[in-house]
């Protein structure tokens, strides 16, 4: 199936998100869609998959003009999209989710489901609730569903986030088989250039809403980066900072939530130190992070911040004592949809009972300029792109906190935005701020941490000197192979 996009335009307010995009997507190929945050690639994919209409422009499929509104109509035209966070119903079983949009009875559907799963080697039990599946399995069930609906073009948005290496390989094999043997078009939106290099036949590159490149693979990482940003980036350099006094100390702490227990963990972070937390989602790092800021109370043990016992104190007390916390879900925990940028800055930085609107706006404008946030003071926060939201979150944090505790601070950000965030963090570290962060990106962990804690099902393994560990070692540790690893020691 060939898709032709002609002169696609899309405006959001004053932002030209898609500017005159014309491109032909040939069937039987895997095409990477590249671009930094805010480049317009998600917008283009949403137009293609029917989630939003273009302001102007034409789409034709196999030479015939196609006009469709809504995802269902797009699917009817053979175009289906796999969202980054699968849009399924967790409480329903795999089979029930599979049934959406299909006009089959349960028996036929089950047969169909099993048949397609087997063809690609997916391990999907029709009767398991989707809530019990891994992200990779949920993707598989979405793929199976879209295939059953007769989709000929499959769009995937960051499909390799949060899935294991084996699952990634299976996904790649599947996509390759779909393109080569079934003649399908696969569009892969990804920040992970190594995935793009491994998989794609062709890449299209967007920058600031425009199509700036369309090239055949293979290409090197450097070539792709230059296409995306118009320049190359030097690898991060990290200076050693002399470590100061212990800032944050967890002493014999026992943490428990519904799913796991971290038993008797003792560790401390010193001023100017960067501690990275590694592990698959839900391995315990979130629990530890939230305990560090008082959002989870330890069942046993104590938490000391700069010599002061903080055990059992509320979160706001931690905040007042100089801890800054950033959660992974920016709009769920951190920013407030419906409030303007000015209101955010006023909430976080001002204390006066009366609000001086002009002063607040001016202060906000300064902060926006200082933190390189592209947006106006009176805009509601949800209008900003992910990178800008993350920069605003940084602007809301205190200037010189004792410690910054950050959950996946660069989640979903492109290379440029991520490196900007790290510049900020390292600058604060140089003035003595301790940094604790979690990440799903092993390169990031190794590049920036002084020390790494690896989490596996509530067990904690400490790597004393992050510069001695390889990505490969770290991968094994994350998988729970603590025994026999010479890189560090068990903590809990």
């Amino acid at each position: 199936m060939d898709i032709e996009l002609r002169n696609i335009h899309k405006w959001f307010g004053s932002i030209h998100a898609n500017n005159d995009i014309t491109v032909t997507l040939k069937g039987g190929r895997i095409i990477g869609v590249l671009g930094e945050n805010g480049a317009g690639k998600s917008t283009l994919m949403k137009i293609l998959s029917g989630f939003q209409p273009a302001d102007s422009g034409e789409i034709s499929i196999d030479g015939k003009p196609a006009v469709y509104h809504g995802p269902q109509a797009a699917i009817a035209n053979g175009i289906g999209m796999l969202q980054q966070d699968p849009l399924d119903v967790p409480a329903f079983s795999v089979l029930e989710n599979f049934l959406f949009g299909l006009s089959l009875n349960r028996k036929e559907a089950r047969k169909r489901l099993v048949e397609i799963s087997q063809r690609f080697g997916f391990d999907l039990d029709p009767d398991t609730p989707v809530a019990n599946l891994t992200i990779a399995q949920r993707q598989q069930q979405e793929i199976v569903r879209l295939l059953a609906l007769g989709v000929k073009t499959l769009i995937l948005d960051e499909p390799t986030t949060g899935i294991s290496a084996e699952q990634k390989q299976l996904l790649f094999d599947t996509l390759q088989s779909l393109a080569r043997q079934h003649g399908m078009t696969v569009l892969l939106v990804s920040h992970k250039l190594e995935d793009v290099i491994a998989l794609c036949d062709e890449v299209i590159v967007l920058r600031a809403g425009k199509l700036v490149g369309d090239r055949q693979m293979p290409a090197t990482t450097q070539q792709l980066v230059r296409l995306m940003f118009g320049q190359e980036f030097a690898p991060p350099t990290r200076e050693r900072v002399p470590l100061g006094e212990p800032v944050l100390r967890l002493d014999g702490v026992l943490l428990r939530d519904k799913r796991l227990t971290i038993d008797t963990c003792t560790f401390q972070v010193r001023a100017g130190e960067v501690v990275g937390l590694a592990g698959l989602d839900g391995s315990g790092q979130e629990l530890l992070i939230r305990a560090c800021v008082g959002l989870v109370k330890p069942n046993r043990g104590s938490i000391v911040l700069a010599g002061q016992d903080m055990t059992g104190k509320p979160y706001r007390h931690y905040l007042q004592c100089g801890i800054a916390f950033g959660a992974a879900g920016r709009l769920e925990e951190g920013l407030i949809a419906g409030l303007t940028l000015t209101e955010h800055v006023a909430l976080a930085n001002e204390t006066d009972p009366l609000i001086d609107c002009d002063a607040a706006r001016e202060h906000t404008a300064n902060q926006l300029a200082l933190y390189n946030v592209r947006g106006r003071a009176e805009d509601p926060i949800e209008q900003l792109s992910g990178g800008n939201q993350q920069r605003l979150l940084m602007a809301l944090m205190p200037e010189e906190p004792l410690a910054m505790v950050l959950e996946q601070p660069t989640r979903g950000l492109d290379v440029d935005s991520a490196s900007w965030i790290w510049q900020q963090l390292l600058a604060r570290r140089a003035s003595g701020t301790a940094i604790v962060f979690s990440s799903a990106d092993l390169d990031e962990l190794v590049a920036y941490s002084d020390r790494i804690l690896v989490f596996y099902a509530g067990q904690v393994y400490e790597i004393d000197d992050a510069s001695t560990v390889t990505i490969d070692d770290l991968g094994h540790l994350i998988g729970g192979e603590f025994e026999g690893s010479g890189a560090g020691r068990r903590l809990a």
């Binding site: 959001f12 307010g13 932002i15 998100a17 945050n37 805010g38 690639k41 917008t43 949403k46 989630f51 969202q83 980054q84 966070d85 849009l87 939530d257 519904k258 799913r259 989602d281 839900g282 979130e286 629990l287 939230r290 959002l295 989870v296 979160y315 706001r316 916390f325 959660a327 992974a328 879900g329 920016r330 709009l331 769920e332 925990e333 951190g334 920013l335 407030i336 949809a337 419906g338 409030l339 209101e343 955010h344 006023a346 909430l347 976080a348 204390t351 006066d352 009972p353 009366l354 609000i355 609107c357 592209r374 947006g375 949800e382 209008q383 900003l384 792109s385 992910g386 939201q389 989640r411």
Partner: protein, 369 residues
């Protein structure tokens, strides 16, 4: 906000009113009456002379007080169904003061009002504590506390505050004259004190929601308590303060009912005004300054409907039907408003929010602290 949006907003506020007039006209025709006559009588009932207008104002005062209280709790994201019970507790506390204290009127009335505010606020904060400490949703807590307030009132009337001639559970004995809010004049029986208090309350709440940190914290808590907490907003204090303010205002409304509308405590003295206030707030979608206007329309409709029976032999419940139609139309137009807002929602760059829902949060962070 652009001019177009302002116009659209106005249209969406007027739409349900116009639509309900049209629909009720059809209903009135269906029962074989003349819609024009009905609306004329309604108008007469509300505005034929100063006495009728005073009746409208007497309804408007408690309705407006309860409504602006609700604007505050709605701003904090709380569906304070308990406003009805908060009015009743205000009425009960005011009745206690009126029965117990012997003081000159100018001194007694402010005390009665203050005591009533205390009663309403206490009932409000209870809803809040149930929510923030025990996780009881404010709707369920509110409904339960409404029932308790009603039962408590009946207990007082048929028990300790029974009239000496024996309790028929109709009312307490009338309070002495010096405890009641004075009328402006015989032709225009309205309490000037309450009227001024209401206007002041509207202004104060409008300014507080607009230009104070308290108002901003309420808004933040209402839109996303979790994020607000993480930004350093004391969300529990914020939610409780909203309920205290609403409870206090509802308390004044309750006091007004027993110290002016009636002269004694009666079962259901609140007259369902708390529930009507919920309707008013839905109608104005939380715009403080529209509250007095819409409350006036509702009060006029309510007062005017008493005339229907006398003049047209139509049942007064026709007014309820009109009201019900209004509620439906309001809800529909609110849905329409949301839809339009969603369509017009401009995302700059790539709005991350829309199709990347909630990040996996594996640990339960508190919402109120």
């Amino acid at each position: 906000m652009t001019k177009n949006q302002t116009l659209l907003n106005l249209a969406l506020t007027l739409l349900p009113i116009i639509a309900s007039v049209v629909i009720s006209s059809i209903l009135i025709l269906a029962v074989g009456s003349d819609p024009r006559g009905v609306f004329e009588k309604l108008w007469e009932g509300a505005f034929r002379n100063s006495n009728a207008l005073a009746g409208v104002l007497n309804f408007w005062i408690p309705l407006t007080l309860a409504s602006i209280g609700l604007v505050v709790t709605f701003r904090a994201g709380l569906w304070n169904i308990g406003v009805e019970g908060q009015m009743m507790m205000g009425a009960v506390f005011a009745s206690w003061a009126a029965r117990t204290l012997v003081l000159p009127t100018p001194l007694l009335i402010p005390i009665e009002i203050a005591v009533a505010m205390l009663g309403g606020a206490a009932w409000g904060v209870l809803v809040g504590l149930l929510k923030t400490r025990l996780g009881v949703h404010e709707i369920f807590g509110g409904v339960a506390l409404n029932a308790i307030a009603n039962v408590f009132t009946i207990y007082l009337i048929s028990g300790p505050w029974q009239p000496p001639e024996g309790g028929s559970a109709q009312a307490t004995p009338p309070f002495p004259d010096y405890t009641l809010l004075p009328e402006l004049s015989g032709e225009f029986p309205v309490s000037l004190f309450a009227l001024v208090l209401t206007v002041v309350a509207i202004g104060a709440i409008f300014l507080a929601l607009r230009g104070t940190r308290w108002g901003l914290e309420l808004k933040a808590t209402g839109k996303n308590p979790r994020s607000a907490l993480l930004l350093g907003v004391p969300t529990e204090r914020s939610a409780l303060s909203a309920l205290i303010v609403c409870g206090a205002l509802a308390g004044i409304a309750g006091a007004y009912r027993v110290l002016f509308t009636y002269d004694s405590l009666r079962p259901l003295a609140s007259g369902g005004i708390g529930f009507l206030a919920l309707l008013v707030v839905l109608l104005v979608s939380m715009k403080t300054l529209l509250v007095p206007l819409v409350a006036f329309l509702v009060a006029a409709l309510f007062t005017g409907s008493t005339r229907l029976k006398v003049a047209l032999q139509l049942d007064q419940s026709l007014a309820d039907v009109l009201q019900g139609t209004v509620v439906l139309m309001v809800l529909l137009s609110n849905g329409l408003r949301e839809r339009l807002a969603l369509r017009g929602r401009v995302g700059e760059g790539e709005p991350e929010t829309e199709f990347k829902p909630i990040a996996p949060v594996t640990t339960e962070a508190p919402t109120y602290e």
